[in-house]
Amino acid sequence: MKNSFRQSMTWLHTWAGLLLGWVAYAIFVTGTASYFRPEITRWMQPEVAGHGTPIDAARLAARALEERAATAPRWFADLPDERTRRLLLLWQPAAGRFQNESLDPATGAKSTARPSMGGEFFYRFHFQLLLPHPWGRYTAGLVALALFVALLTGIVAHRRFFADLFLFRPGRIALRSWLDFHNVAGVLTLPFFLMISYSALVIFHNLYLPWSAKLLPPEKPAVTAQASPSSPTAWIAPAPLDPMIDEAARRWGTAHSIHRIEASDRGTARATVIFTRSELDSVSLRGRDQLKFDGVTGKLLDDRRLSATDGPGRSVHGIFYGLHLARFAGPLLRSLLFCLGLLGTALIASGLVMWTLKRRPKLATAGAGGRFAFWLVERLNVTAIAGLFVAIAALFWANRLLPVDLPSRLEREILCFLVAWAAMLVHACARRTPAAWREQLLLAAALFILLPGLDALTAGQHLAAAGRTFDLAYLGIETFFVVLGASLAIAAGKVARRVTSEGEAREGGARSASTLHANAADSAAPSSPQEVTS
């Protein structure tokens, strides 16, 4: 039994952290990448060259929808902006399911870009984990909950971290520096982590707490019944969209402007057209402006903020949703949040590695089951932490190497990701731990560093065009590949050095004895310094 509050909390921190740590790590890596979802898409679909203004794109969308689905009761158009070079049309025919089509945002012609999920892959993986519908979101919710628990219990378990704030002692003994890093990163990213894990739970509150909607009184008067998209008895010609687009341009300007157009109940007397503006200046996702037009006469009915009629629950939900997605963040703040995401990723990784470091001294006396569990955790650590980067690099390589007109190319890119990750699991099982760490980190480093070269060979004309127009998204990603690769190479080198410098590591073991966190598990560590990997 755990005989003190702190020991119980430490126990919970250890096991919640370990069991969901691998998934949490993958979710964190992909979530961090999702901060730059449109930019990743830009790199993975280099053929999409320009984007024009949202107003021009809105006109193109209106024309294209008229050509493709003149009698469909519902239309949607997602318009491009400075970051997103995508013009997505969605329509629901009178009978049947939604159909969609991507257009080249500059010309309005059918998009000729290579089929690829682009940044959307990271975004979807982040909360769906490639699992069938509700299960990915349930798993992600469980991980968010575990992360939240691990945070709160971590504050108790690592209670010294305020006294040791800003303190990082690298290179003495492995556990000491990992623990220092875990503490420093933990306390510094605490606000970010709390916000991210809590908002993750809030976003899908309807999925995780479906009963709340039944128990709580509704905040909004019931919406007038949504018309079913059945075919209307007599078609009433809808008003053309172009004058409405002009009106939106007059009110919102051309740059930070229309984000989405939605036309409902087309062909009936109730037809409406709603223009939503892209959000930028407010944290809440509900802080967006909307224009509502009568779909038959084309008259402006309403100009308001989405949040104008929100009750407290919806407002709070909108704020946390907005905080999580960080659409409000400009390039500078976005990069800063990206760095926080990386730091959080490293925090989870250091916790996972520490689990093995602390248990290695006791391995000699462990039973067969304990030894197997230890072996398994080490393998999964290598695969989850280092192997994921190999898999991501493989995805980018597949994006450039698979022929553009390959059938089901989009799925095959993802298959390459999964196959590479599985191969890393096999590799981790086949090799000794230090070698597995070093080789996978080096492989990931090489793959990332060589990516710009591969890009120049396979998509040279796009790279050259990006260089001419000083396309910051494209060039920034290329630079980041190299930086990431170099960091992975340094990490691989550190792993290698630690394996060979046990004598040096032995110094300074004594002074850390009093400050090592937690309980009995620490007692063996200072006298027998353990390497990260050996």
């Binding site: 704030l165 990082f168 926080l340 730091l343």
Partner: protein
């Protein structure tokens, strides 16, 4: 203005570090002796003032909603930068605070 906010945040956390027991070695290297309790209090007051000023600068740069988010992110970023400098280049921990502040003030005056 966001540059100024970061500079203020960095100077603030650096002052806090000077007041901490765990970093008295660094204080000794800079001033020849450990900080006494009066100095520690002064460092903490100064640190608080700088962090509040950073919050003001951030809200001025981004508006209060986004500014508060940016302020939190900058606290983390400056804290992590400080940690790395204290670990790997302790002599160059506090000079950048001054340099950053001066450059940020110049930038915000002339832009």
């Amino acid at each position: 203005m966001s540059w100024l906010a970061f500079a203020l945040a960095y100077a603030g956390v650096a002052l806090f570090a000077l007041a901490m027991k765990a970093h008295q070695n660094t204080h000794r290297a800079l001033f020849g002796h450990a900080a006494d309790s009066r100095q520690c209090r002064a460092f903490r007051c100064g640190g608080t003032a700088l962090l509040l000023a950073a919050a003001l600068a951030a809200t001025h740069a981004f508006g209060w909603q986004v500014g508060l988010v940016a302020w939190c992110a900058m606290l983390t970023a400056s804290g992590f930068t400080l940690t790395q400098l204290l670990a790997y280049a302790p002599r160059f921990t506090f000079a950048p605070a001054g340099g950053l502040l001066v450059s940020a003030l110049l930038v915000s005056i002339f832009s």
